[in-house]
Point group: C2
Chain length 211, copies 2
């Protein structure tokens, strides 16, 4: 196995170190966050949306240090509501393109080719072709020691394509072709290998039929 | 699309609500955390290990509320060092089985069938057959509003199988068969669809050869 300690990591060129460390902890979620600012709608790819709790339903999003202007963060702080939209294989190239530094006033929806969807519940846009739409509302934020910010948000509503739902509200991400992200720029399709029953010490691992 | 708001989510049976909300934000990383406590070694599956920073290299792990005894958390607080080990397809069933409530004093390594690997750099065990070993050290913790705890940890060392590494230290998770987790119990294999170049406003999305 190839070995790196803190010293050898320090000697790597910064882009290569970032590439390595960004991918080391595994596959990350792939979502587009939709917001609205004073100059219009905004859409940006995120690999840092995470589940934090089910009751009440709570998500987290990690933002990089706020040393440069972050439109998505500023818009969320301003209007509280934002949308989280799952990224599918067919959406991956355009989703990645939202990470380009478009000038303020350019909507990434139009620039990369996603149709915005508006709903009566909010003034924030969703991505029409995404199979999962989550309406979130800013709750709190936590400043981490590297100046990243974890924003927590309550889930106000969910829209999900019927074909995603299996037995007992299990979401089969293979059915809707949700991708995962490796590091900052690698998109992986996902194939369900198995779903397992609640594990007990005196039983072997048992697969559940996800339906 | 099927619609849920906070009211209709509240009326779902708690297990079904948890199943739905746990999976809604997408694919999660799949890792085994190895620790050591007063009664021996401990190994537990986690879907909440996340990248937080590359320089310095920082990971985060979300723990559920500490209202019941959490061996992994307690061991990390006590000895600071812990290991993060990537889960592959071949490891998934046994990795899931570590979530069973084995009595204290039973090592999940032995109970589920993983061979521990010890290295000179630490007294904490790694999972021998895992293709990525990360040695972490507790840094800080942040209490979230739902009583979950985000523990941050610095990366002290990494061991990675050579075949995982592509151009510029890109980790190709398909090459080492890293899985992702949906919710708490669904394991997905991953296929690299494409890696994209740094996005620019005046260029179309461009794939990079990951090698």
């Amino acid at each position: 196995m190839k070995f790196f300690d803190t010293q050898s990591l320090k000697t790597l060129p910064s882009r290569e170190r970032a590439t390595l460390i960004n991918s080391i902890s595994g596959i990350r979620s792939a979502n587009l966050i939709g917001t609205r600012g004073s100059s219009g709608t905004n859409l940006s790819v995120f690999n840092s949306v995470m589940h934090l709790g089910s009751d009440p339903a709570l998500l987290g999003v990690v933002f990089r240090p706020l040393t440069v202007e972050r439109h998505t963060y500023a818009n969320i702080k301003d209007l509280k509501d934002f949308s989280v939209n799952a990224i599918t294989s067919a959406m991956a190239a355009r989703a990645h393109q939202t990470s380009a530094k478009y000038p303020e006033g350019t909507s990434e929806f139009e620039a990369v080719g996603f149709e915005p969807l508006f709903r009566k519940e909010t003034h924030i846009p969703f991505v029409k072709e995404s199979p999962i739409h989550i309406l979130c509302s800013y709750s709190q934020e936590h400043l981490l020691e590297n100046q990243c910010v974890l924003v927590t948000a309550s889930i106000k509503a969910i829209w999900i394509e019927e074909k995603a739902l299996g037995h007992g509200y299990f979401i089969n991400h293979e059915h809707i072709k949700t991708v995962g992200i490796g590091g900052l720029d690698a998109y992986y399709s996902t194939t369900l290998e198995g779903r397992y029953a609640y594990a007990k010490p005196d039983q072997s691992p048992t697969k559940i039929d996800p339906k």
